[in-house]
């Protein structure tokens, strides 16, 4: 069998997919939860950068993984709060505010990185902790499944907890019901006494919360340092993943999995003599193609619905 095909069929391909989709699914949940409330957060890129940076710095200075985790999450939630304040209290357009926040995140992390490490590129001069990886007893010994699912970073395991938590919040709590109601018809929600601004603020805080795990994983799991703009567009791919999945739990999961799969694929066929620039563009190219197919499909459906309505 062709060695490339063989390697793609190997369990480690699925392993790689899970690894690669981790920093996509976290922000994708962040996008989805904000989109359901009707105020789409496109600042996940910035949220992840700030969390990734905060995690590395705090872990290096305190030597505590717990402090790093807490600080990283607070940084992400704080970014969500800032976005909410601009959008909801100061009535700024959420797209503009989020773009500003993304640029701010890129700048401030490089600035602080230089102040703290005298390096504008990476944090390699200070020693960051990393989140541990675990082998799962019993599971690891099962052939095929073991090498796929065992040996992952703790944050990759938590990914499943996160998507289930997202599901429960959205469908099983009053907050989730209100988030959906506010997103679909804010006037209707307001007419039964729901504070639309408050619900949107909660959804943006949740958005920052989920996004921050993606950032922490990037700098303290995927690698063990912070480097400038290390999110490399994952916060934007997350928007695509979430909207492919209709901002719903299972769909968002599958959307992120698709991008993870494509990413892993481009890594696995790297041994072929294809120019590496082309290989690296595959995930982004897929984003464009998938989004195009998705929107054509959607507009067809809308046309059909219109016809339906005209009858």
């Amino acid at each position: 069998m062709n060695p490339i095909i063989k390697s793609i069929l190997a369990p480690k391909f699925i392993f790689a997919t899970l690894r690669v989709m981790t920093p996509i699914l976290y922000p994708a949940i962040g996008v989805a939860v904000s989109a359901l409330a009707g105020s789409v957060n496109i600042a996940l890129e910035g949220i992840m950068l700030v969390s990734a940076f905060t995690g590395v710095i705090i872990s290096a200075y305190t030597g505590s993984l717990w402090f790093a985790l807490i600080a990283g999450v607070l940084a992400g939630v704080g970014m969500g709060a800032v976005l909410g304040y601009f959008h909801l209290n100061l009535k700024a357009d959420i797209i503009i505010a989020a773009i500003a926040l993304n640029m701010f995140a890129s700048g401030i992390t490089i600035f602080l990185l230089y102040i703290l490490t005298h390096d504008k590129g990476t944090s390699s001069s200070i020693k960051s902790l990393v989140f541990p990886s675990y082998q799962i007893p019993l599971l690891k010994d099962i052939p095929v499944l073991g090498p796929m699912l065992s040996g992952h970073n703790i944050l990759t395991y938590l990914l499943f907890v996160a998507i289930i938590a997202f599901y429960y919040i959205i469908y099983k709590t009053p907050l989730g019901l209100r988030i959906r109601a506010v997103g679909q018809n804010p006037e209707a929600a307001a007419s039964v006494g729901i504070d639309v601004k408050k619900i949107r603020m909660y959804s943006l805080l949740l958005s920052g919360f989920f996004g921050s795990f993606g950032g922490l994983y990037l700098s303290m799991g995927y690698v063990s340092w912070f480097s400038r703009d290390m999110t490399a567009g994952r916060g934007f791919i997350a928007i695509a993943a979430a909207s492919l999945g209709g901002n719903l739990p299972l769909g968002t999961f599958l959307g992120a999995a698709l991008f993870g799969l494509v990413n892993a694929f481009s890594n696995f066929i790297a041994p072929l003599k294809i120019p590496s620039e082309f290989m690296q563009s595959i995930p982004y190219l897929t984003t464009v193609i998938v989004l195009a197919i998705y929107s054509i499909n959607k507009s067809n459906k809308e046309k059909a619905a219109l016809k339906e309505g005209a009858k």
Binding site: Q184, V192, G193
Partner: protein
């Protein structure tokens, strides 16, 4: 029994200086259905918002259940047992019926989770108690508008409303759905609820209300038992002058055919024949009215005649020129005016100003533009004249259309369509959702156009309208023209009915009265 709600000298002045209510006094008796009628912009909706706490009055007192109240927001009104069903339904489309009903008052378990069992119990109990049947687990977006309205009423009932306000509830309903609504309202009355019903449809007011208050120009004109007033009296009190409900006289001078439709067929994308080989003509100086239940091909026919849709086969001629494959602008340039069915969708650009909406079809012509520059000075004067001629209630031509009432928006459309001196007017539901006063004005304008020798093609779901102004009536059923009548006194709704429902067909019967 004393009044459940007393309004004393309610005055409301909006920040822009508009006085919406000029001292209104009404007593609403407990356990009655009380209709409040008035023209668009008379101040009915404002008054309801004041009762419901969405607006505050500048002056006056409100007594509810014998004690004076000052609601600061609608939640306080809801807490006291007042519920309001808005004209635009307040539902979240992707949520289920049950979820919509309990939204904002969700029962919880374990501190943070929705108590799904209790939600089902609560909603089922409400449905049973009030005799409403709604599919609790279906999503709202999959349900027809009549059902959605019942959900709104249930939403109010589940919050223990005793006084229920409905703001023009029938505006979005079919006649059948209206029947169902009225039955529910009477049921609710039997269960001790008090209902305030806002409307400008006089027939409905007579049908459902115990008492009627007529509001004109921000003042209550009269409050009376409904059975003591007839429709004509209510209409005249509403408008403040006499209204002509008589059929307009038939035209004297009918000219040559101006619009000719020959063997027109339209098959839609789903292979359904919406228009089946129809032929007819409209002559200069006559009004040809299409009667028919909506959805029998009228919309498609109008869209084909105005260039918005392509016919599958057959031809349409205006003044002997084939227009079947022309664009909307090319057709307009043959002097064809179009008053569209849905004014908000196709009639106006809602956030643009009146003057922008007026010139939207002629901006490129002299004298509206000079070279490539628009002459705003000219446009302003031009619009000001139209505002005066068509009696549009607006401060100036710069007022955005969205700030106008429905009747006035329709007048903007009519002003644009009649002011470019058309030779054919295609009027699709020209008076839908507007009050009697504006309606009469539109009818008069169409009659005047007819008498000037203009051909008028009227499509209306309102049979009274078709009978009132048409010179000739065509009945459309399932994409075909099944009957044609010259409009005389002996043509009645009862006579047209069987054709509209497809029971009778002149084309198929050998002998037919006409």
């Amino acid at each position: 029994m004393g009044p459940i709600l007393s309004l004393k000298n309610i005055v409301k002045i909006y920040p822009n200086g508009v006085v919406a209510n000029k001292g209104i006094n009404i007593d609403i008796e407990e356990n009655t259905i009380h209709a409040i009628v008035g023209e668009n912009g008379a101040g009915k909706s404002t008054l309801m918002k004041i009762i419901f706490g969405e607006e505050t009055a500048e002056d006056g007192e409100i007594f509810y259940q014998g004690e004076q109240v000052h609601f600061r927001n609608s939640l306080e009104a809801i807490d006291r047992g007042i519920g309001m069903i808005h004209q635009h339904l307040m539902l979240a489309p992707e949520l289920t019926v049950a979820e919509n009903m309990i939204l904002g008052t969700e029962p919880i378990k374990f501190g943070i989770f929705l108590h799904s069992k209790k939600i089902l119990e609560m909603t089922e109990k409400a449905c049973k108690e009030f005799g409403f049947e709604v599919p609790l687990n279906k999503r709202v977006k999959d349900l027809p508008v009549g059902t959605r309205q019942r959900i709104e009423i249930l939403k109010v009932l589940i919050r223990n409303a005793k006084l229920i306000i409905l703001d023009e509830p029938t505006a979005v309903l079919t006649p059948q759905e209206t029947e169902v609504l009225f039955k529910s309202l009477r049921d609710l009355q039997k269960r001790g609820k008090t209902i305030i019903f806002i409307s400008h449809k006089l027939k409905e007011v007579k049908q459902i209300a115990d008492r009627v208050t007529i509001i004109r120009d921000g003042k209550d004109i009269v409050t009376e038992n409904a059975k003591n007033l007839n429709e004509h009296q209510i209409a005249e009190l509403m408008v403040g002058r006499e209204i002509n409900f008589q059929r307009i006289p038939l035209p004297v001078n009918i000219g040559a055919p101006f619009l000719k439709v020959q063997n027109l067929t339209y098959i839609n994308e789903e292979n359904i024949t919406k228009i089946n080989n129809i032929s007819f003509e409209v002559r200069k100086g006559e009004i040809v009215g299409i009667a028919g239940v909506e959805g029998n091909g009228q919309t498609e026919l109008v869209e084909i005649l105005t260039g918005l849709r392509q016919a599958t086969s057959g031809h349409a001629y205006v003044n002997n020129e084939d227009i079947t494959h022309l664009t909307p602008r090319q057709i307009r340039e043959k002097m064809v005016a179009h008053i569209p069915e849905d004014r908000m969708q196709n009639g106006v650009a809602e956030h643009a100003s009146i003057q922008e909406n007026i010139i939207v079809d002629r901006y490129y012509k002299h004298p509206f533009s000079k070279g490539i520059i628009l002459d705003w000075k000219y446009i302003e004067n031009y619009t000001a004249d139209l505002i005066k001629d068509f009696n549009i209630l607006a401060q100036s031509g710069k007022t955005p259309v969205s700030a106008l009432s429905g009747g006035n928006i329709q007048k903007v459309v009519v002003a644009r369509e009649l002011s470019f001196k058309p030779e054919l007017i295609i009027a699709d539901q020209p008076t839908r959702g507007i009050d009697v006063g504006s309606e009469e004005m539109v009818h008069d304008l169409l009659k005047d156009a007819r008498d000037k020798g203009i051909a008028v093609f009227l499509i209306s779901a309102d049979l009274d309208e078709v009978l009132k102004i048409s010179s000739r009536i065509l009945v459309m059923y399932d994409g075909e023209i099944v009957a044609e009548f010259k409009n005389t006194e002996d043509i009645t709704q009862e006579k047209l009915g069987p054709y509209m429902l497809g029971v009778k067909n002149q084309n198929k019967a050998s002998v037919e009265e006409s």
